[in-house]
Symmetry: C2
Subunit: 123 residues, 2 copies
DNA sequence: CTAGAACCTCACGTCAACGTGAGGATCAAG
DNA sequence: CTTGATCCTCACGTTGACGTGAGGTTCTAG
């Protein structure tokens, strides 16, 4: 598969894919002319990378975790990293929950001084 | 109160406080010689700012929300911003939860191939 | 065979929230 | 009055995940 198709199907930019290769997150072999060739699996792999990036993992952490997808064998280092990052994410969720509740509080407060309805469509 | 004390009590750097002033998040008046003077309330204000920064709000969004703490009166714009950010945070929590669960899955998988105990101290 | 789409490699630009000196003034204590 | 801690204002450096041309090659449809 060519880079443009991978980009579109994974929902990222072509530049991002080149960047991932530079960071060692995705390996692509090349056509004789030098164009990148990706296997089908690359799409899912990139989506997974996006998931981890969105969760705030650094590319270094991702690089340590990704090989697991290929080998399905976890080194102690990988396991540790997985658990560390899980803990980090959990802590982050706690922080966000605090901020969320605080904003909630303010919104309810503001509803007392304004005519603005406190009801939120997404609640 | 001087900037150093505010910094220590709020748990941020002196540089951060100057930056917050530059961004219009904290107003400090000056001594005749030009040193910043903060009211007691600044400590709580800065902690709140930290909470919002930690939740991923941009300084622009914080600037729109902060006046509420002073006036306790919400303009429609402020209310909208509050609710927008609450929604953003909620969405962010969802993303993180997805990533968390995915990592959890991998950790359980890796426990099958390694002797690494799956038990997590923080669970 | 030719045009336009898609690809390539540099390599500098971006943005946010500060960090980090440089160089100098001010404050609090003895 | 001196000294060490604290403060001031520039102003450039940092980090990560790309964006954005520049300048050139390759692929593909007609």
């Amino acid at each position: 598969m060519r880079i443009g198709e991978v980009a579109e199907r994974a929902g990222v930019s072509v530049r991002a894919l080149r960047y991932y290769e530079e960071r060692g997150l995705v390996i692509a072999d090349r056509s004789p002319s030098g164009h990148r060739r990706y296997p089908e699996s690359a799409v899912e792999r990139v989506k997974f990378i996006q998931l981890l990036y969105a969760a705030g993992l650094a590319s270094k952490a991702i690089r340590e975790i990704l090989p697991f997808l290929d080998t399905l064998v976890a080194t102690p280092r990988m396991t540790r990293r997985l658990m560390d990052e899980r803990a980090r994410i959990r802590a982050r969720i706690d922080d966000l929950t605090k901020a969320h509740d605080r904003l909630d509080e303010l919104i309810r407060l503001s509803a007392e001084y304004e005519n603005t309805p406190a009801a939120c469509p997404a609640t």
